[in-house]
């Protein structure tokens, strides 16, 4: 059972057994054709067995080829190699086999033809004729001798046959002499081997022939061809009864003559038989040889297909393995069941896949670690208050945090991977020109070489959406493993508020100094001027008194003006502690606006207040000052307008956590160039005024953690929008 289950037996066993049986059958058939008459009855059975066996092999072949075709259609790996190998080997085998077949057929035909040589045939015919002539001569001699003896002994033969029959046999030197009556009854006989052996009677036809007075002489074969005799049968006439008594004389032919005659007869018989069978023999041998050829080709093809499949099986396994690996299955491990080079190859493949899997796993772990680090750094960079931009060596954007986009006013995340200078060419980003003007020169290769990759810093000012940003740039190159420069990093620091705070601090210092240095002398100056007026007015004539009064009046007015200015500076510089209380913003606005409404300008100031606005936590005095300043500014801006309109509105829904307050007028508006300094101290274009109104407004807004901005500077009128946080309403 173990042997039967062996792969080689399973694959080749049945083909070998069937082929061997068929070859055996064909061999037997060829032997039968040559000279094996005792197997003749098996010839047809063998022929049919051969046909059926060949049919089975052909069925196997068709099945195998069909399976190959199906595998080819399904794209099974290794099948193309199998087909190529099979085709090549079959051609290599078939070519010499067909040549051999051709020559074998030719030789067989020639060989069979050579059996029938003309001289052989002639020699056999001559030998046969010679033997026949010899026997005929002996037959005639025997007949003549019998006739002569018969004529000498005729009267006695019929009268006293028992007496002369023996003498006749001795005279003729015959083996047997027998005299019969005309009805075939034996009268007398003499045998050389004694009287115990009865003579062999002639056939009825011969008796009939003798009764017709005809003699018979012929060579006959007895004992199944083992002995030839000459049988002479002549009529012996009985003169008295006028009857013909058949006299049979049997002459033994010498054994050597019999043997030679049999030999010649057999040879001639076989020769003629073979000569007749020449054509069928050729056909039969051709058939057998063709069967052998066909069997050999079919078997060879089956063997070749099986061998090719065995040969390509490891290749097929390898291909399937590589395909599985290509699909990401690195757990693939093929069974090593061979001890040849393919086995070594499969083992090497397994080792290689194991190494690849290990390396891949290491890479995966490294990649995960790198990714974690990257995410870590991204999180750090994202949460930095500074903007960070990294570029590769080709100046393509690699990493950007949101702060950088905010500072530059461009959504840089959507431009990751693009060339950095392409942003400069974008017409939507004209405000970035100072940025690029500052950065790009440092990234030139020549500059990089000259600066020896040193970091640099530069401060720029960006103007975007009516806002001015002061940005401090820090840039440096990034390291690389294989190159000197792996990229660039730019850190953007928005120092606008810092600069503004410094400016505010400076102005506050100036204001304090002014208040301290100027306010103190003003009161004595005013009092001195009024005292001069009071003491000297009565002592002077009218003209001088009038002049004095005008002079002192001017001094007092200017002092009051200076006191107002100083008070404004004090207000700007002074930062009292906030008195935060819950207040209703709408009521505060209505209270303040009511103060500016007189019968003359009832239609000037309008309010549009959101009733849903919650109470806010704020310093009401500071907010009063804020609204006073803004309303006062609006009124001054609309002095020359025919129908001046001032609208104060509140909105709680525009932003979820903000309250928006807007103060708009239909005045001439603020020129664009004034936007940069409108909220800076002493930044007024009005002939009257301290130039601190809007600066104080901005300061109060910032004290409440709010924001003020100027909308639509180019359209008619001016609109200040103040945004305060609702957090104030919660008292936080």
């Amino acid at each position: 059972m173990k042997l039967i289950k062996h792969p080689l037996i399973k694959q080749y066993g049945w083909i070998i057994i069937l082929s061997a049986l068929l070859l055996g059958a064909l061999f037997l058939m060829s032997r039968i054709l040559k000279n094996a008459p005792h197997f003749t009855e098996s010839y047809i059975a063998l022929l049919i067995f051969t046909f059926i066996g060949t049919l089975i092999l052909v069925t196997l072949l068709v099945r195998t080829l069909y399976k190959l075709y199906k595998q080819y259609k399904q794209g099974v790996s290794g099948v193309k190699t199998t087909i190529k190998l099979t085709s090549t080997l079959t051609l290599l085998l078939a070519f010499p086999i067909v040549i051999l077949y051709y020559f074998a057929i030719s030789f067989i035909h020639q060989g069979i033809d050579q059996w029938f040589d003309v001289r052989t045939e002639q020699a056999l015919s001559d030998a046969s004729a010679l033997m026949r002539a010899n026997l005929d001569h002996a037959t005639r001699d025997s007949l003549n001798m019998t006739l002569r003896a018969h004529s000498q002994l005729q009267p006695l033969l019929t009268q006293r046959p028992a007496l002369v029959i023996n003498e006749l046999r001795n005279q003729l030197n015959a083996q047997e002499v027998a005299l019969y009556q005309s009805n075939g009854q034996l009268l007398a006989f003499s045998n050389a081997y004694g009287s115990q052996i009865l003579p062999t009677p002639p056939s009825d036809a011969l008796f009939q022939q003798v009764r017709q007075r005809l003699s018979y002489a012929a060579v006959e074969t007895l004992n199944d061809g083992q002995q030839d005799i000459i049988r002479i049968l002549i009529p012996v006439n009985d003169l008295f009864s006028n009857q013909a008594y058949p006299l049979q004389v049997v002459f033994a032919i010498p054994d050597n003559i019999t043997r030679y005659a049999q030999s010649v007869r057999l040879a001639e018989s076989q020769y003629h038989e073979l000569n007749y069978l020449r054509g069928p023999l050729k056909i039969s041998f051709t058939l057998i040889l063709s069967m052998v050829l066909f069997l050999t080709l079919v078997t060879a093809l089956l063997f070749t297909v099986q061998a090719a499949q065995n040969l390509t099986r490891p290749i097929r396994n390898l291909v399937q393995g590589t395909q599985r690996v290509a699909q990401g299955d690195y757990s693939t491990k093929m069974q090593v069941d061979r001890d040849d080079e393919f086995g070594v190859l499969i083992q090497s493949f397994n080792d290689m896949i194991q190494q690849v899997a290990k390396a891949r796993n290491d890479i995966k772990i490294n990649h995960q670690q790198t990714e974690v680090q990257r995410l870590y750094f991204q999180a750090v960079i994202r949460n930095l208050t500074n903007g960070v931009i990294t570029l590769d060596m080709n100046r393509r954007l690699r990493t950007i945090n949101d702060t950088a986009s905010d500072i530059l006013g461009v959504d840089l995340q959507s431009h990751v991977g693009e060339r950095f200078c392409d942003l400069m060419d974008d017409t939507n980003n004209p405000h970035l020109k100072p940025f690029f003007d500052a950065v790009l020169p440092h990234f030139e290769l020549d500059v990089l070489r000259q600066n020896e990759l040193k970091p640099w810093s530069e401060q720029i000012t960006l103007q975007h959406q009516q806002q001015q940003r002061i940005v401090l740039l820090h840039a440096s190159t990034l390291p690389s493993i294989d190159q000197k420069v792996g990229g660039f990093v730019i850190v953007l620091d928005d120092i606008t508020e810092l600069v503004q705070a410094q400016l505010n601090a400076a102005w506050s210092d100036v204001a304090r100094r002014l208040a301290h240095e100027i306010k103190n002398p003003l009161t004595p100056i005013q009092l001195s001027a009024e005292r001069l007026q009071f003491k000297l007015a009565a002592k002077l004539d009218d003209n001088d008194a009038d002049l004095l009064q005008r002079m002192t009046r001017t001094i007092v007015d200017q002092v009051e003006t200076m006191q107002t200015l100083v008070q404004a500076f004090i207000d700007y510089a002074h930062t009292p502690e906030m008195q935060l209380r819950l207040l209703n913003l709408n009521e505060l606005i209505l209270d303040i606006t009511s103060m500016y409404q007189s019968p003359d300008n009832l239609e000037v100031i309008h309010t549009q207040l959101d009733a849903q606005c919650p109470m806010i936590l704020a310093d009401s005095a500071r907010l009063r000052q804020l609204f006073h300043n803004l309303i006062k500014n609006a009124l001054e801006a609309t002095e020359n307008i025919t129908q001046p309109q001032i609208l104060i509105s509140t909105d709680c829904h525009q932003q979820a956590d903000k309250i928006t307050i807007s103060i708009a007028d239909n005045g001439p508006g603020i020129p664009e160039q004034a936007l940069n300094w409108i909220f800076e101290p002493y930044a007024t274009d009005k002939p009257k005024g301290t130039g601190l109104g809007l600066a104080i407004v901005k300061k109060i807004v910032e004290e409440h953690n709010g924001r003020i901005e100027l909308l639509n500077p180019n359209s008619q009128g001016t609109c200040f929008v103040i945004t305060l946080s609702k957090l104030n309403a919660d008292g936080v």
Binding site: T40, I48, M131, A261, S269, H272, N275, Y276, L277
Partner: protein
């Protein structure tokens, strides 16, 4: 045996055209000494191919099938019961050396020589006084049939000829079954 029957079936199909080579000239039955005997004379017409083979000293064997059947009936279904079945083989060969034809009955061993082929064929096709059965074995009122068939035995041909004989119709020497109704109690 199945294989042999299969081949015989195929040969029978292909040998239909050769029935005309064997014709029945005469057949008759008679009683003698409480025995049923019959005479028959068949005319055999060998094809030139077979004659050529004989003259090349190819021994040919002819089979004579003789049956005595009784016609029975089971309800409405008729069937035959074989009482006697005899198959005997006769070999015909020619000797160029002796220039004679020899018939050898392999059943009883009789050998006869002929100078002419027609004489040999005439003897081959002659059945004279062929004893079938004892009349005691037969019942009056029942129907009996003598059936006779004559054919050349392909299986005993030399192997090379056998292949040819399977293919060529000239070797299909076979007669149909000749039938002779026999009734007991009267003499035909």
């Amino acid at each position: 045996m199945r294989l042999r029957w299969l081949v015989m079936f195929i040969l029978a199909l292909t040998s239909l055209s050769s029935w005309s080579h064997v014709s029945l000239l005469q057949i008759s039955d008679y009683h003698q000494d409480q025995q049923l005997l019959f005479d028959a004379q068949l005319e055999l017409q060998l094809t030139p191919r077979i004659i050529d083979a004989i003259h090349h000293e190819i021994p040919l064997q002819f089979v004579t099938h003789i049956k005595l059947n009784r016609r029975d009936q089971f309800f409405i279904f008729p069937y035959n019961t074989e009482l006697v079945g005899i198959d005997y083989v006769t070999e015909l060969r020619y000797s160029r050396f002796y220039q004679r034809y020899t018939l050898h009955n392999l059943r009883n061993g009789n050998v006869e020589h002929f100078n002419q082929l027609n004489d040999a064929l005439k003897t081959l096709g002659t059945l004279a006084g062929f004893r079938l059965t004892n009349l005691n074995q037969m019942h009056s009122g029942l129907r009996y049939h003598i059936r006779l068939k004559f054919e050349l035995s392909y299986w005993t041909l030399p192997a090379p000829l056998l292949t040819q004989a399977l293919i060529h119709p000239d070797w299909r020497l076979s007669s149909p079954w000749f039938e002779l109704p026999v009734q007991t109690g009267r003499r035909r």
